[in-house]
């Protein structure tokens, strides 16, 4: 029984490693962001899943076993979420720099709002009465009333 479980571990972990390898090759070789994401999610979901599955017989029931499975479930959740967000950003287009990861609006945390640029390089929109181009379709335009408004509710 012990030997059978060990063989199961070796086979499953190696299969998981294969998916990580395939995912990495895909990440390096595929032509555009969407296909690269596809390759990555295979590594995350199947690769990690098989490694966790393979390690289960070697863990102490119940705590370590549950911990390992939980880690895999959270990696699945995070991987699926980030994959969606990055695919959204990639479809919206843009260069391959921060722009792609941080689009002006949509399903993403916005770390690079145009207000950054206003502080360093130009006066507030309220002062020039000009709305920065990237703010055109933002839900909170930078005009004088918006400056005195509270947070969106």
């Amino acid at each position: 029984m012990k030997i059978a479980l060990d063989i199961f571990t070796i086979v499953a972990v190696m299969a998981g490693a294969f998916f990580f390898l395939a995912g990495t090759v895909g990440l390096l070789r595929f032509p555009d962001p969407l296909t690269r994401l596809h390759a990555l999610t295979k590594a995350d979901n199947l690769g990690l899943g098989l490694v966790v599955l393979g390690l289960l017989p070697q863990t102490d029931w119940p705590l370590d076993t549950i911990k390992l499975v939980t880690i895999w479930l959270f990696a699945l959740l995070a991987g699926a979420t980030v994959g969606q967000l990055m695919a959204c950003a990639a479809r919206r287009g843009g260069s391959n720099t921060v722009d792609t990861l941080l689009p002006p609006n949509g399903n993403t945390v916005e770390l690079s709002t145009p207000t950054y640029q206003i502080v360093g390089r130009q006066p507030f929109a309220a002062e020039t009465n000009r709305v920065p181009s990237r703010h055109r379709d933002a839900d909170l335009p930078l005009n004088s009333t918006a400056l005195h408004r509270g947070p969106p509710t």
Binding site: F74, L102, G106, E110, T113, Y116, Q117, V119, P151, P152
Partner: protein, 315 residues
């Protein structure tokens, strides 16, 4: 050659390659990603060196928090990047920088290679006095009993960094809302992720904070996780950052270091020295400091990532 040694050598080579790439790559954003990867590899090294406390800190602060701060900085610098790329420093400057860096590395290498064997250590002394502090994790004992002054200064440095970030605010936004805000769809996938993840993350963060007394963990690691959860909820559009002029916010930010200082100087009266704890009261006092520091660190770390105020507070 054993398998473990092969893994260690592979890890070392990867780290060296990652460090070189982080320095060599011209694009700021790529360099930041390199640095985050470097931090994650360093975490594995600390695990291999049987230092889980340091590994946890490196993963939370070195990889996670610093990574988030640097990505924010890279986004901020993006508009100036093409301009700065044309200004290449002179050969003399670059040579001097390279020589200086190489000298520092060489000095460190010589020091490490010439350490006496076995290396001098205070570990037995720290372990011997562990009972009098009431905590079970020697790292926590060092941080909050033997070298409490260092930890106090660390907390104050985080606070000063936050003041520094705030001082970058435009005059008209002073005391207003930090710029981090979300255009996320409240029914979108990020909101779903935040709803599932935040409750679990909050429990994990508090657990890591609480377990720090006896096992690897502690307030800095726990606070980083809690700050990340707060930012996740804000990023998903489920909550909003308060304006930085809020009184409760400022009180909580100052409370941690203040409690620490008060307890530290009370040691002059109740024990023999500053930051000495009276006999038998070490554990409750350490706990009081930790609990007071926790909100300070969570708020300070999250607000550091959120950046300078950008919008006016309500009139």
């Amino acid at each position: 050659m054993t398998l473990a040694l092969a893994v260690d050598i592979g890890l070392t080579l990867l780290i060296l390659a990652m460090a070189a790439w982080t320095i060599a790559v011209r694009d700021t954003f790529a360099s930041v990603i390199g640095f985050v990867t470097y931090g994650l590899l360093l975490t594995l090294v600390w695990v291999r060196l049987a230092a889980p406390d340091v590994a946890l800190t490196e993963a939370a602060m070195g990889g996670g928090l610093t990574g988030a701060l640097l990505i924010g900085a890279a986004a901020r610098l993006r508009s100036t990047e093409s301009a700065s790329r044309t200004e290449r420093p002179s050969v003399l400057t670059r040579t001097l920088a390279a020589v200086l860096s190489a000298a520092v590395t060489a000095a460190l290498a010589i020091c490490v290679l010439n350490l006496p064997d076995p290396a001098p250590t205070l570990a037995p002394a720290a372990a011997a006095q562990l009972g009098s502090t009431g905590v079970g994790n020697p790292v926590t004992a060092v941080l909050l009993a033997y070298r409490a002054m260092d930890t106090l200064l660390e907390a104050i440095v985080v606070l000063l960094a936050l003041v520094g970030v705030w001082s970058l605010a435009h005059d008209r936004a002073w005391g207003g809302y930090p710029q981090l805000r979300s255009h996320a769809d409240p029914d979108g996938i990020l909101a779903y992720f935040a709803r599932v993840m935040a409750p679990v993350g909050i429990i994990v963060g508090i657990y890591i904070f609480w377990i720090g007394a006896d096992f690897p963990g502690g307030k800095f690691q726990g606070a980083t996780i809690l700050a990340a959860m707060w930012l996740l909820v804000i990023g998903a559009g489920l909550a909003h950052l308060p304006p930085v002029s809020q009184t409760w916010l400022r009180v909580l930010l100052v409370a941690g270091p203040l409690v620490f200082i008060v307890i530290g100087f009370a040691g002059l009266v109740t024990a023999e020295a500053v930051f000495a704890y009276p006999n038998g009261y070490a554990k409750p006092l350490i706990l009081a400091i930790e609990i007071a520091l926790m909100p300070t660190l969570v708020l300070a770390l999250a607000l550091l990532v959120a950046g300078a105020p950008q919008r006016m507070p309500p009139q």
